[in-house]
């Protein structure tokens, strides 16, 4: 097991290396530099700017310099936001995104599993049909339709919730409700469908029949025997769900004006703020890769059928 973890950990390195290299060269070869927009600056100023950000050096040296800085945990200065480093910008916005993402994932998992259990146990009854229709809605309707519709109904027509903003505003925690619901809805839907399907499958298996034949209470059969086996696919879905939530949060943050990383990401992509885009891609990828790694390991611990050599 330890050997497997170490090997898995080492395999993260080439992925990170490819991500850093790819995004570095992609962005450097893009037409239009960070200083090519709007105002024309005098040649001397431009030269000084280039010098300040080491952009007058050869591409190879820039790459090596950047790589060295990343290894030291320094993502460099932002080209657009004066006097701000990428580290500071990300540090400022990351907690907000993390809060939004974690809450959404937790809600999606908790609600999804609960709904999945209910519809599996009440298969082909009205509870099942209602839950599964809701799940189809969640899978088919994109985030950027659900978000504005929620705003239209609950903020503009009924005036129950604030249209947008963040917990630091006057409206406080109420601002969290709509973004979290919007972001978690598709993943709630997937998880509900998956857990329903896998519970139904496990319910038909021999060991559940054995458990019932032993005369165990139905609640014990479900809680101890069925769920243990049935929830494994959900664990392996957490990796993709997490990456979906990260990209989804870009849209949700734009709709609900959340001061998070996603909002900065879109801005920096449009601004060609090289260092900021790369910093964000690196941080996002690191989170994603680590999450996938954790999910793999947890899965290995939970599923006794998997033996690591």
């Amino acid at each position: 097991m330890t050997k497997f973890i170490i090997r898995r950990l080492l395999s993260l390195i080439p992925t990170m290396f490819v991500i850093v290299t790819l995004s570095f060269f992609l962005i450097r070869f893009a037409p239009g530099g960070p200083f090519s927009a709007e105002k024309k600056v005098p040649a001397q100023v431009l030269q000084n700017l280039m010098k300040k950000y080491h952009m007058d050096e050869s591409l190879g040296r820039q790459y090596l310099r950047y790589f060295g800085e990343i290894l030291r945990g320094d993502l460099g200065p932002s080209f657009r936001y004066k006097d701000m480093t990428v580290n500071a910008l990300i540090k400022q916005s990351m907690p907000n995104s993390m809060l939004l993402g974690t809450l959404s994932l937790a809600l999606a998992v908790a609600l999804g599993i609960a709904v999945g259990i209910v519809s599996a146990l009440k298969q082909n009854k009205w509870q099942d049909y209602t839950a599964m229709s809701l799940a189809v809605v969640g899978i088919s309707v994109p985030l950027f339709v659900i978000g504005p519709l929620l705003q239209l109904v609950f903020a503009m027509q009924l005036k129950w919730l604030p249209t947008s903003g963040w917990i630091t505003d006057r409206a406080g925690l109420k601002t969290l409700i709509m973004p979290v619901i919007t972001l978690s809805f598709p993943y709630f839907a997937y998880i509900a469908r998956m857990s329903r399907a896998s519970i139904l499958e496990v319910l038909r298996s021999d060991y559940v029949r054995t458990a019932r034949a032993k005369g165990l209470k139905e609640s014990t059969v479900i809680g101890k025997h069925v769920l243990k086996g049935a929830l494994l696919p959900i664990v392996s879905y957490l990796g993709p769900a997490f990456s979906g939530i990260i990209t989804g949060s870009i849209v949700v943050e734009t709709i609900f004006l959340v001061p998070g990383v996603g909002k900065i990401f879109v801005q920096s992509a449009l601004n060609r703020d090289y260092t900021l885009i790369m910093g964000e891609v690196i941080v996002y990828s690191l989170i994603l890769i680590v999450m996938n790694f954790v999910v793999d390991i947890v899965y290995g611990f939970l599923d006794p059928r998997i033996a690591y050599k």
């Binding site: 992925t15 490819v18 339709v145 870009i250 734009t254 992509a269 990828s285």
Partner: protein, 358 residues
């Protein structure tokens, strides 16, 4: 057990009529009412968007500044304008009769305006336009824009799926059939690209090469296709590995079939079911990706429109003109619904384990 040699049997060894996988799948799909409904809806969408240039709808780019933000209606734009003025007069008349004498000049002024509006409507041929689904902030017909938006969205979905499937089949088949070092190398690459944050890469590509007009759609295709073939490559590889030692492949090889023939005539047709399921389920996800980018302002650029850009335009001003959001959002949602039902139905229908069962 072996009394029925050479004949199709089900799991109880009962004799059944031999049917091809496709006939069997089609029979099962026809029984699934939701999947069939999905098929009809998808078909209707396809026909409408394909026939858009010959349909009697207005040009989706022509702007009519006198017809901005009109609500959906069966009446012509001119009669809506007249109605609006008449409603105002009735309102004012009520107030004047209720003792607000100071509003009388205002009422008379609007009465005069009504005459001029009526004359205008009679004179201007454009006032006879009927906007079934309303107009947007530049006075463009929402019906035409939604149909043409669907054209681009569906095109992105279809082209994305085709590229993904082609690249995926080729890479997957080579990796699975060759095995060994080549397989290892290709799958390593797939693993590494899998670890990349897909949407972020597409966003970067779009932001970098985003220009006005048609070129942005091409970049969009390239960006989506570049990262979308991974899943299908893995699936095809798995299928090929499980099939390549089957007897029928051995038979083909012993008859002198070359590698290319074995892969393309024997192995890939056997994985077609999986590929079709993947394709129908990934089409909506490509459409969602495209709309997602367009929503962020990184996708299709004006005057072309996709469902994503229409929704994002509709969000601005949705409180006063909700139809601008609801019309494209509804069209898109219905299509995605239908696609998902169809995909689910196909998955059940093409599942080889359910062959010869109802």
């Amino acid at each position: 057990m072996s009394t029925n040699i050479g004949q199709a049997v089900n799991e109880f060894n009962q004799q059944v009529a031999a049917v091809s996988l496709w006939a069997d799948a089609w029979r099962r799909l026809r029984k699934n009412r939701m999947a069939l409904l999905g098929l009809w809806v998808v078909g209707a969408f396809a026909i409408i968007t394909l026939a858009a240039p010959i349909l009697p709808i207005y040009d989706y780019t022509s702007q009519e500044m006198t017809h901005i933000n009109l609500p959906p209606s069966l009446k012509s734009a001119g009669s809506i304008a007249i109605q609006k003025v008449e409603k105002r007069i009735v309102e004012l008349k009520g107030l004047v009769d209720g003792g607000r004498e100071d509003l009388r000049p205002e009422m008379d002024k609007i009465r005069a305006e009504l005459e001029s509006v009526k004359a205008d409507v009679a004179k201007n041929p454009k006032s006879s336009k009927v906007y079934l689904l309303g107009t947007d902030y530049l006075g463009r017909d929402m019906l035409a824009r939604t149909i043409y938006g669907g054209r681009i969205s569906m095109m992105v979905g279809i082209i994305g799926t085709i590229t993904a499937v082609l690249i995926g089949i080729i890479i997957g088949a080579i990796a699975g059939y060759a095995g060994g070092r080549l397989d290892n190398f290709l799958m390593r690459i797939v693993d590494i690209i899998y670890g990349l944050p897909y949407m972020l890469i597409v966003i970067i590509l779009m932001a970098m090469f985003h220009k006005d007009g048609a070129s942005s759609i091409v970049i969009l295709f390239v960006a989506i296709a570049l990262v979308s073939w991974l899943t299908i490559a893995r699936v095809v590889r798995g299928q090929i590995i499980s099939l390549k030692n089957a007897e029928f492949i051995e038979a083909a090889r012993s008859m002198g079939a070359g590698t290319g023939r074995i892969i393309f005539r024997h192995l890939i047709p056997n994985t077609l079911g999986v590929i079709i399921i993947f394709a129908t389920l990934s089409l909506p996800s490509f459409i969602m990706s495209e709309s997602f980018l367009s929503f962020l302002g990184l996708g299709v650029s004006a005057p072309a429109a996709s469902w994503g850009t229409l929704v994002s335009e509709g969000v601005q001003g949705m409180e006063l003109y909700p139809w601008r959001l609801l019309v494209p959002a509804l069209a898109m949602t219905i299509f995605l619904f239908a696609m998902n039902f169809l995909g689910d139905g196909l998955r059940v229908a093409l599942d080889p384990q359910s062959k010869n069962r109802t």
